[in-house]
Point group: C2
Chain length 319, copies 2
């Protein structure tokens, strides 16, 4: 396949189970895309080998003999030198100088490495829902809650690359304990564990709920994806749960908007896809909780790029 | 008085009741300082006239015929053009183009205008407790709670100049209502109103407290300054109240540090001067609530410049 660009930009999205690499046009089209197992349980060397395979495969399909640049998005904190620190569920991975290692595999080719949530934020900024907004907070709302901050069309990484941890804004210092050890984090309220518990609780009084059908009657199997699905199917209990969760998410967003002088939030991840009523719930909550001068300008918008955000943002890093 | 600098930098600190102007050396020494009434109740024109008087007086005492630059710190949101918006308790002051107006009074002289909390943050960064910290959150903890964010030794103003509103991070979405309309804001927990109520509550069981002596037995007269004074005098109840408040402040700080990847907070304002035990309480709370990678690097430090921070930071703006 021949690209229209004079060089090929490769974007790589490293997830816990699969690595996706693709050829991305400067306009943000994915011209080719593959999928390799991450092998995260086999340690960093195995993962780097898989990245190499994925990139080589993408290059082979690009119609070019080499690549113009490689951008990588991956879990964990990524410092300014492209060292990736402690990605969750990656075995034996404390600190790995991923940028350096890829530089040895692809000498002379510009390489960028960024945290996956930041990469997705970059993608929405360059190609998605954030094109017209120079400043916004991007949120991934799925099993956990992650984020990335765009200031003046660029990612705000903070002093050491750790900025954007929206999931760990506490909205109740007496609230439920979060996996991070803190109390009442946004993630502890609207992430998988809490949503599933809340659903199980509510469903005891609602045996007719679509959620119960979707999990085959086994309440221990409830996951946000089923709640979203049930909500899409019009289930009242599912909608109530997500509206409540949206309100709580909005409390955290308002705090961030107040401290950083932001007005716009773009929300991606599985739950955000459950329907406009979720966005509306978040929007209403932010407007209610934010400082007066910000109220009229608040915009809470769904992300546009879905599962491709990571790969597109990784490519966007090196454009 | 002759300055050692070849030109004079004038710093102006506009408060609700007094305007202070001073000649500031590039090293951060105040070489001369005056004080004029703000006349905030007489409208913007009267205030601008007072600023003019204060600056002219400072120049007269500088030993120079003119000034090198004028920096101004004032309440309210200040946009990138030096327009000052809605400073609290300033009559008829919606939006005033202060930078422009001062430019007409002092033609050809560089003029900077900044929010007062941001100016104080700049002062601590350039001349005070923040010199060695490129990134920190500055907090003013007094009647209200304000803040300013220093990133890479510069003030972070946010997209429209409103960043740093630390007092309006909510730490409990079911908490007491804040003046801003939101629930559970840091300011609603550790600002004047709440502290005074909390004290009045506790004192019913502690008639021996030094606080009661300080307010002449009238619990309606309790203000944070008396609680601080009693704490300095060793009063147990006062110390308990401030330790509790410090813990709550720390919850808010932890959220900001998580989202912005910060490790350092410098705390000024009246209450911070009550003693090291307050700083220790805040520090312990932040360490307890912040994400793991940040814990070992957390530093909560008292501000160094006290009441001079505003004036010094205003001068620092234009250095």
């Amino acid at each position: 396949m021949k690209t229209e660009d004079s060089t090929s930009i490769v974007g790589v999205d490293i997830g816990g189970t699969t690595i996706k690499a693709g050829i991305v046009s400067t306009g943000g089209s994915i011209l080719y895309q593959n999928k390799f197992p991450t092998l995260a349980d086999r340690g960093p060397a195995a993962v780097v080998k898989q990245i190499n395979e994925a990139v080589l495969d993408a290059v082979r399909h690009s119609g070019h003999e080499t690549v113009g640049a490689i951008g990588v998005g991956c879990p964990g904190v990524v410092d300014d030198d492209g060292v990736v620190k402690s990605p969750p569920n990656f075995a034996d991975w404390d600190e790995v100088p991923l940028k350096l290692e890829l530089g040895l595999l692809f000498p002379g080719i510009p390489i960028g490495v960024e945290n996956d949530a930041n990469a997705a934020a970059i993608a929405e900024s360059k190609f998605g829902a954030g094109i017209e907004y120079p400043n916004f907070l991007f949120v991934i709302w799925g099993t956990g809650v992650g984020g990335g901050i765009i200031l003046n069309h660029k990612i705000f990484r903070g002093p050491t690359g750790g900025a954007g941890e929206f999931g760990h804004i506490s909205i109740d210092y007496n609230g439920p304990q979060c996996n991070c050890g803190n109390m009442g984090c946004v993630e502890a309220y609207v992430g998988q564990r809490y949503l599933s518990q809340r659903a199980a609780q509510k469903l005891q009084k609602h045996p007719e709920s679509r959620i119960i059908q979707l999990v085959g009657g086994d309440l221990s199997k409830i996951e946000p994806v089923y709640i979203s699905q049930a909500a899409l199917d019009g289930d009242t209990v599912a909608r109530e749960i997500l509206v409540e969760a949206g309100q709580l998410l909005g409390v955290g967003l308002a705090s961030v908007m107040n401290i950083m002088d932001l007005r716009v939030s773009i929300i991606g991840g599985g739950i955000s896809a459950a329907g406009d009523f979720v966005m509306q719930s978040v929007q209403d909550s932010v407007v209610r909780h934010v400082l007066k001068p910000l109220k009229s300008e608040i915009r809470v918008l769904p992300a546009k790029l879905g599962n491709n955000a990571g790969l597109l943002g990784a490519a966007g890093l090196v454009m």
